[in-house]
Structure formats: structure tokens, C-alpha cells
């Protein structure tokens, strides 16, 4: 079975490739590259091309894990965003252009609401620019959705520096609380049927909410106690002052990075305004991480390797972003087209080539370990056998006659 999965991609590529999950950070760099690229263009053809690139890579390198099944949801979300944006424009938007396609009844607003229009003529130019605007946001969301689909979010949190370890674990725990809560609600609702609960309205909500919340609190306390007794949050001999310093540096650094990134990416300000803030923020964050290094840091069990596929995948993302940033400056008319006067957008050559570089991961990323292994891929490292093979091996034990499984263990 293992040979079969390893051989399938080998038939396509001349070299034998080991199946392993790609480092989650590489997927995120690639996806952020696509998102940055999408933020710099309003050319609908380029945006559709970016979505297509994301879809192709997801289709080629997606696992069958629970988080990998949500990509369709991101596509639907993208479509909803475009529709909302267009409808909002039709009702409220500013009127640009002259090609009127539809005349909505106009509402006369009182004097204090002057400047806001409701309804009125809808122009084709306006609809198109609203649609491309929505498409841009949708493309960014789909890019990030692709990263979430391709990389295990829990695995990504293992890459965070030691300074952010506690926060990272808290996020991991809350990630696992959500499915538990859903399960708990289902169980309590089922139990309600046994009592034939007749309440309506807030009493009915309470009949479900009280046991669910009590259960969630019990579980959280049990988990907190378990984590504490397993060493989570050990501080060793770090002084409180040092911990406060680390925290302050990190928070200031992250705020700086956020402002800086906004400055760099926002097309209306010049890069010169954003870069210094970004650099200062990054420096503070690095200082924070460095001070945290002195304390007890958790080690990583079987960390994901960072090899040439990871370099290539992340480089392809950076390349996409870089070409779009460059071409939006070199060729603004075609990369950021205006629909006034109306004209059919054309694909600018440079940015098209740049976007197509984003297809690289579909080929260079190592093949997915085992498509049928839903949960097995969660933490599989490179050399672990596919989970389906293990399930087969485990089956006879689970189905064996009572007594046999136990007797094997008696020392």
C-alpha cells in the first residue's frame, strides 16, 4: 500500500519522490505572496488567474485531513463577498461613468443625511469597479484559505518562537475546544429529547446552554490541570522582570510590524513611510524573542524539516508578490485598470508570468503522504508509514476475542 502511493507520483516525475508534508511555514509564505499580489491589482483577469493558481495547487497537494476539506467553503465565501460588494454599490455607491444599465427607485433622504444616496441610476462602470474590488478581497481570502487547507494549523503553531509558546498553546487548545463544544451541544440536545423538553424561547436555550457550559468549564479545568501537571508554562528560574521585558518587547514589536506592513502594502502611501516602522517593529520583536531564549524553552519532537522544496515554494510566493508590486508601478494602467471609460482589460505580460510562477508548488512540493489517511496526516513526519496501513494492522487486535489482547501484555 505504501509503495502504491509512493509510486503514483513517480510515474509522473522522472525522479523518485518521498511523500511527506511540506513545512507549514512554506505554505503560508506562498499564500501570503499570492494575497499581497492580489492586493496590488484590480485587473479582473489577473485576479482570476491568481484564484486559478491557488485552486490548482490545492487540488494537487491537498490531504484528506479535516482542515483540508474547507477549501470549497473559502471559494463560496469569496463569491458571497463579490455579490455583497456589488449589491452594496448598487444601493449606496457613488455614481461614476455614464452607461446606465438599471434605474432603481431613488429614496429622498432628509437634509441631515445629505451626501448619502439610496437607489438611483446604476452604471456599468460602477458595477464593474465594485465587482473587481470585491474580487480582489475574495482573492486574498481564497489565498489564505489555500494555506489553511494545505497546512495543519496546529503544526504551524509549533514553529512559533519560544516567546510565543504559551500563546500558541492557548490557540491550539481553543482550536480543539470548538469541535468538542459542537459535540457537547449535540449530546445535550439529544438528552433533551429524553425529557421531552417543552420550553420555548430563552428557557429552551438555557436548557441546552447550562449543561453545555458546565461541561465545557469542567473540561477546561481538567485540561488546565492536566497541562499544568505535565509541565506547561514552566518558568525555571527566569525572573519576573525579565518575563515582563520579553512581553513588552514582543507586543510593541508586533504592533510596529502591523503598522509597517499596512504602510508598505497600502498603495496610496509611499513605501518609504512604511518601511522604517516595519523595520523597527521587526527589530523589537527579534529582541523580544532573543530575551525569551534565555529561559526554559520547550524542545520540539520530530520538527518538520526545511529543505529545498520549502525554499522553492516560499520563493515562488515571494516572486509572485514581487512581480505584482513591481508591475503595478511600471505599468499601472493595465495592472490597476479604471473602467471609465469602459474598456476590455488586457493581461499585462510581466504580472501574468509572475502569477504563473505561483504554480510551482503544485510540482515542487513533495507529494501528499496518503490521501485516504484522514487523521494520520495530522502529525505525520516524513518517514512515518501511512496511517491506513496501520489501521489494517490494528484491526485484528480490536476485533479479537476478549482476553487475547490483554494476555499479550501480561509481563
Amino acid at each position: 500500500m505504501r509503495e502504491a502511493t509512493a509510486d503514483a507520483p513517480a510515474a509522473r516525475s522522472p525522479r523518485q519522490r518521498t511523500a511527506r508534508p511540506l513545512h507549514p511555514l512554506a505554505w503560508w509564505i506562498w499564500a501570503l505572496g499570492l494575497a499581497v499580489a492580489a492586493s496590488r491589482t484590480t485587473n479582473p483577469l489577473s485576479l482570476c488567474l491568481i484564484i486559478a493558481v491557488a485552486c490548482v495547487v490545492v487540488a494537487a497537494r491537498r490531504t484528506d485531513a479535516p482542515w483540508a476539506r474547507a477549501f470549497r467553503g473559502y471559494l463560496i465565501l469569496g463569491a458571497v463577498i463579490v455579490v455583497i460588494r456589488v449589491v452594496a454599490y448598487m444601493v449606496l455607491g457613488n455614481r461614476v461613468g455614464t452607461t446606465v444599465v438599471l434605474r432603481l427607485p431613488e429614496v429622498d433622504l432628509p437634509g441631515w443625511a445629505a451626501g448619502i444616496r439610496l437607489g438611483g441610476p446604476v452604471t456599468l462602470e460602477g458595477v464593474l469597479s465594485a465587482a473587481t474590488d470585491g474580487l480582489r478581497l475574495a482573492t486574498m481570502i481564497i489565498s489564505l484559505g489555500a494555506a489553511n487547507t494545505l497546512a495543519n494549523p496546529k503544526r504551524l503553531l509549533r514553529c512559533v518562537p519560544a516567546a510565543l509558546h504559551e500563546v500558541g498553546t492557548a490557540v491550539v487548545v481553543s482550536l480543539s475546544m470548538a469541535p468538542q463544544l459542537a459535540e457537547s451541544v449535540q449530546r445535550v440536545r439529544r438528552a433533551r429529547q429524553l425529557r421531552a423538553g417543552t420550553e420555548r424561547g430563552h428557557r429552551a436555550v438555557r436548557a441546552v446552554a447550562v449543561p453545555v457550559l458546565a461541561d465545557a468549564l469542567d473540561r477546561s479545568l481538567a485540561l488546565a490541570a492536566a497541562m499544568d501537571s505535565r509541565g506547561y508554562g514552566r518558568i525555571g528560574d527566569t525572573s519576573p522582570a525579565r518575563r515582563r521585558l520579553t512581553g513588552a518587547l514582543l507586543i510593541l514589536g508586533l504592533i510596529g510590524v502591523c503598522i509597517g506592513v499596512y504602510g508598505v502594502l497600502d498603495g496610496t502611501t509611499s513605501a518609504a513611510q512604511g518601511l522604517p516602522v516595519l523595520a523597527a517593529g521587526a527589530a523589537l520583536a527579534v529582541a523580544g524573542i532573543a530575551t525569551a531564549r534565555r529561559r526554559v524553552r520547550p524542545t520540539a519532537y520530530r520538527p518538520d524539516p526545511w529543505a529545498w522544496p520549502e525554499w522553492l515554494v516560499s520563493a515562488s510566493g515571494v516572486a509572485v508578490a514581487a512581480t505584482l508590486v513591481a508591475s503595478s508601478r511600471l505599468d499601472p494602467d493595465r495592472v490597476v485598470p479604471m473602467f471609465d471609460p469602459l474598456a476590455w482589460p488586457t493581461l499585462p505580460a510581466l504580472s501574468t508570468i509572475g502569477i504563473l510562477v505561483g504554480l510551482l508548488p503544485a510540482v515542487v512540493a513533495p507529494p501528499v503522504p496518503d490521501r485516504s489517511a484522514a487523521g494520520g496526516a495530522v502529525g505525520s513526519g516524513g518517514t512515518r508509514p501511512p496511517a491506513s496501513e496501520l489501521r489494517l494492522a490494528a484491526a485484528p487486535v480490536a476485533g479479537s476475542h476478549p482476553g487475547t489482547a490483554g494476555s499479550e501484555l501480561v509481563p
Binding site: 491550539v172 439529544r190 421531552a196 505535565r230 519532537y301 487523521g375 502529525g379 501484555l409 509481563p411
Partner: protein, 541 residues
């Protein structure tokens, strides 16, 4: 290794301390069994070993607890993680990651153990606990026994000197419990780990214990050699009670010891006169299920089960974890999924009836019975139950008093009741609708011998009043004394069905202790054996 130095523990708002003047030393490499009634402070004692009590619970702990020379008042539990490993009652609630291998490594990562040390330790632990084939499996997909072993493994990888286990086998079927206990004894024998373990089902663990600590109701503890402590313990497993009644010395703690004493007894007793009255076949059964099937997605939980339940019988539903017991009970009640077959109670199908009618036909006490309770006081719950079943005011409260023997304050919050009282409250709520069929899913979990005895009486009375009762349980001792008929499920199918004596004595895993001691004679109830033995001894002389 562990030293309690005049420890008195009082929780906030409590009038009486839960532990009082505890002076206790557990030597290294010793398996220490902690017993006591429900709510007697066993868990408090266990959790104070690594300081979770009082740090996580609040309250005042006087005296000192020393573990491997460390004072728990000076170090928080996280700093003791390398010395004490704690496994809670519900392993699933304590998992941090989602795959077996990552879970085993989690504790070591927190202790900053070097990667090259972690790898072999994980492999060793996988082998030691026999879970190597599960390494890539998601934790949620494992069976209860496997989860419990992973939970033990996840603390073992840190090489703790002390392992603390709170009711490690309470949710497990007999086979899985054997697996877990085998793993624990291997740790004690091979690695010299000190194990402190609390358990209600003494019959499972007593034979492995080196020291028994009994927490008394007033918070004092008695500790010492297992035979000495068990000689006067009110809560004792069947072999001990048999040994005590017949004056065997040394007191037998295991079936093996008891069989040595029992050679004469076996010959003298003869066969039990099973004067079980044949259920009246002329009366229509209370519930008739035909070809019931339950399917959850691709999993077939129950396959083609046909059952009829007669008035006046208590039926045990047994089978390993995940064999479809709960699914079958929910399908019989009608609120759960049923993909095929019919369930007929008093002429109507439970599935098509409205929830209110269904409830008056079949009452079900689910496994997590607390899910049914959501109001602030016992009285509110009872009043709500009366309203739901259109019963006369006070019906539920009267039932509850009847089940508990009265005396429970109506203003108490249901969560503050003891396990047994809470079960009684849920049972009372369900009985308010006066169903003719009563189903209970794992009611004995967390109950001590006294509470189980009370439950047995309650079920017997329900059956005598004309109800058909079904109890899904792993507790073989409870089945042996409380149930007339036993149905065994495996992979969703009925594999054995018949009188309890015939079914349980045919299987080494399901046989109660007395039956094992007196095999091949099918004695089930220790009280009946003691009575017969004393009669036999008294007769000739």
C-alpha cells in the same frame, strides 16, 4: 518516596476537613491502592501529591506533602512534572495534541528534553504499553482502553518516579481494564515506579496492591498491608467478603488465593438451587424489537438485533467499549438513530411517537446523566419534571425521596449531589412519566459498593412493580447480583443471550469472582454462598 506529614485539607466553604491528620509514607516502587466511599476524599489525596490540591481547587492544606524530597507547597505542579505523572479520570479531557505520538512527546517538550533523547523514549513507551500500532492514530478515534494507555504513556515518557492514577479502569470493559492493569503492574515490577491508584472496583485491583490506604468518611486514613486493611473495610470485593465470613486466614485477596481455601467448600456446597421463576411467557413482552439496525455514517453500530423484554426482568447489556450498547439503547428508546427494524411498546412504535409519548413508553438514563439537569435546585428539577410529564405536583420529588431514602435538601444544586444521588435524581425525573420500560446506560460508573447495592434494590423493585429494566454496564459483579438475564453484544450483534448465570459463567472475562472461585458450580452472589456455606457447616454439627 511520598510522605504526608500531618496533612489536613479543608475546602473553601466546607465545615469539615476532607482529609484529617493524614500521616502516610509510600515507599519507592510500591503500588498503593486508595479506597473509600464516593466523595470521601480519595481524589483530594491523589491530587495533593503533585500540588493540584490546593493550587487548582482552593482551600487550606495544613501539614506537608513531600514527594521525592520536594515540598509541594514550594513548587507548583508544572515544576514537579518530571517527578510526578498524573492521569485523570477522563483521559480524553486531558489530551493536548491530536495524534498519539505527539501526545506522548508533549510532556517531554515541556521539560525541554533534547530531541535525540525524546525519540527513543517515545519508542520505548509505545512498546511498553503495547500501543506501537496506534502511533499515527487520532486520539479521538481510539477506544477507551487505548486512550487510557496513551494517557499513561504520555506521562511515562517524562520518566516520573511517581505515577498517580485516578480510577483508571472505571470506564473500561473487563478486557481493556486487564490491559491497563497489566501495563501498570509491569511499570511497578520492571521500572520500580511508585504507583498511587484510586479505584472503586477493588475486585479488579486489590490483588496487585502492596499497600492499601482507606480514606474514612471523617477524613482520617487507615493504611497498611492489603489483607490487614481489608479485614475490617466495610467496602470489600466478593472474595474478601467470602473469606471474612468463612474465617479464612490469610484473607484471600485474589481469586487464586480464594480457590486454594475453597476446595472443601466447593465439595460441600454443591450446585446452587437456581429457583429462578421462569418469566411468565403468556403475558405480552413490554418491548419487542425486531431487526433493529443503527448506522452512524459508514459505521454500522448495531446490526439486526431482535430482542423482547418481559415485565419483571432486569436485563444486563454487556459488551466491550464500542460494541453498540449505547446506540442500541438510544434506538430502543426512539430518540436515537434507527436505520432499520421496528421497536414496539404497547402497540406503538417508539420512533414515530412524539417525545412526550415516547418518554411515557420508555425511560432512558443516558451515560452522562448530568446532561438532563439544568436548573439550580433539586426542587426546581422535580417541579419541571412533573410539568413535563403532566404528573401530579410532587410525583418526582416523592420518587426521588423513595430512591435516596429521603433527607436530601431540595434547595441543593444538582451538581453538588453525590454521584449516586445525582443518578437517583435523573432516574426519578425519567420515572415521573411512569414508563413501562426503563433503560440505564452505565449507571454504576463512579458508584461505590454501597451505592451499587442501593441501585440494585431500586432496579429490583422497579421490575417487581412490572417494568422491564435494561442496564448497559461493564460491571460484572453488579450484573451477577442484580440482573436476571444477560445479553452480550459484539460488533453490534447479539452474541449471547440467556439467564445471567449461564451467560457470565461461560466466559472467563464476564464471570464474577465468586463464580471463578467456585467454578464449575455457577454461584453468582456472594451472600447466597455465605448463607449456604454457613448452613452446610451448621447442619451436620
Amino acid at each position: 518516596m511520598i510522605r504526608f506529614d500531618r496533612v489536613t485539607m479543608t475546602y473553601d466553604g466546607a465545615d469539615e476537613p476532607v482529609l484529617r491528620d493524614v500521616d502516610l509514607t509510600v515507599p519507592e516502587g510500591c503500588l498503593c491502592l486508595v479506597t473509600g466511599r464516593t466523595g470521601s476524599g480519595k481524589t483530594t489525596l491523589l491530587r495533593s501529591i503533585n500540588g493540584l490540591v490546593p493550587r487548582f481547587t482552593g482551600g487550606l492544606l495544613q501539614g506537608r506533602v513531600l514527594v521525592d524530597g520536594h515540598d509541594t507547597s514550594a513548587l507548583p505542579p508544572r515544576e514537579l512534572a518530571g517527578v510526578v505523572g498524573v492521569v485523570g479520570q477522563d483521559p480524553l479531557a486531558s489530551f493536548v495534541t491530536d495524534v498519539v505520538e505527539d501526545e506522548l512527546a508533549y510532556g517531554m517538550e515541556q521539560l525541554s528534553i533534547a530531541p535525540e533523547v525524546m525519540r527513543p523514549r517515545v519508542e520505548d513507551t509505545l512498546d511498553l504499553l503495547g500501543i506501537a500500532e496506534l502511533r499515527d492514530r487520532p486520539l479521538r478515534d481510539l477506544s477507551g482502553g487505548q486512550q487510557q494507555r496513551v494517557a499513561i504513556g504520555s506521562v511515562l515518557t517524562c520518566h516520573p518516579r511517581v505515577l498517580v492514577l485516578d480510577e483508571p479502569t472505571s470506564a473500561l470493559d473487563p478486557t481493556a481494564a486487564e490491559e491497563v492493569l497489566a501495563a501498570i503492574t509491569r511499570l511497578v515490577h520492571d521500572l520500580g515506579t511508585t504507583v498511587v491508584l484510586a479505584e472503586h472496583r477493588l475486585e479488579r485491583v486489590l490483588q496487585y496492591a502492596d499497600v492499601v490506604v482507606r480514606v474514612l468518611d471523617d477524613g482520617h486514613v487507615v493504611h497498611g498491608d492489603p489483607a490487614a486493611v481489608m479485614a475490617e473495610a466495610p467496602l470489600a470485593p466478593p472474595v474478601v467478603r467470602l473469606g471474612r465470613a468463612l474465617g479464612w486466614s490469610p484473607l484471600p485477596l485474589s481469586v487464586r488465593d480464594a480457590r486454594r481455601h475453597a476446595t472443601l467448600l466447593r465439595d460441600g456446597l454443591g450446585s446452587p438451587h437456581l429457583a429462578e421463576p421462569e418469566p411468565d411467557r403468556s403475558a405480552a413482552p413490554r418491548l419487542t424489537a425486531t431487526n433493529v439496525g443503527v448506522r452512524h455514517g459508514r459505521v454500522e453500530a448495531v446490526r439486526d438485533v431482535s430482542l423482547s423484554l418481559d415485565a419483571g426482568t432486569v436485563t444486563a447489556l454487556m459488551g466491550r467499549n464500542g460494541s453498540g450498547k449505547s446506540s442500541l439503547l438510544w434506538a430502543l428508546q426512539g430518540s436515537g438513530t434507527r436505520s432499520s427494524g421496528t421497536v414496539d411498546v404497547a402497540g406503538s412504535d417508539t420512533r414515530s411517537a412524539s417525545p412526550a409519548t415516547r418518554r411515557s413508553l420508555v425511560g432512558l438514563v443516558p451515560q452522562t446523566s448530568g446532561d438532563l439537569l439544568y436548573l439550580e435546585t433539586v426542587d426546581d428539577e422535580c417541579a419541571q419534571a412533573d410539568a413535563e410529564s403532566a404528573a401530579a405536583a410532587g410525583t418526582c420529588r416523592a420518587l426521588f425521596d423513595d430512591l435516596t431514602g429521603g433527607g436530601v435538601d431540595g434547595a441543593v444544586h444538582p451538581r453538588d449531589l453525590s454521584e449516586g444521588q445525582r443518578l437517583a435524581l435523573v432516574l426519578a425525573v425519567q420515572l415521573t412519566a411512569a414508563p413501562s420500560v426503563v433503560l440505564l446506560d452505565e449507571p454504576t460508573r463512579g458508584l461505590d459498593y454501597a451505592a451499587k447495592e442501593q441501585l440494585r434494590t431500586v432496579l429490583r423493585r422497579l421490575a417487581d412493580d412490572g417494568a422491564a429494566v435494561v442496564v448497559a454496564t461493564h460491571d460484572v459483579e453488579f450484573v451477577a447480583t442484580a440482573c436476571d438475564r444477560t445479553v452480550v453484544l459484539a460488533q453490534g450483534e447479539v452474541v449471547a443471550d440467556g439467564p445471567t448465570a449461564a451467560v457470565v459463567c461461560a466466559s472467563p472475562m464476564l464471570a464474577p469472582q465468586v463464580a471463578k472461585v467456585l467454578a464449575p458450580e455457577a454461584w453468582l452472589d456472594v451472600d447466597a454462598v455465605i448463607e449456604a456455606a454457613l448452613d452446610a457447616a451448621g447442619g451436620p454439627t
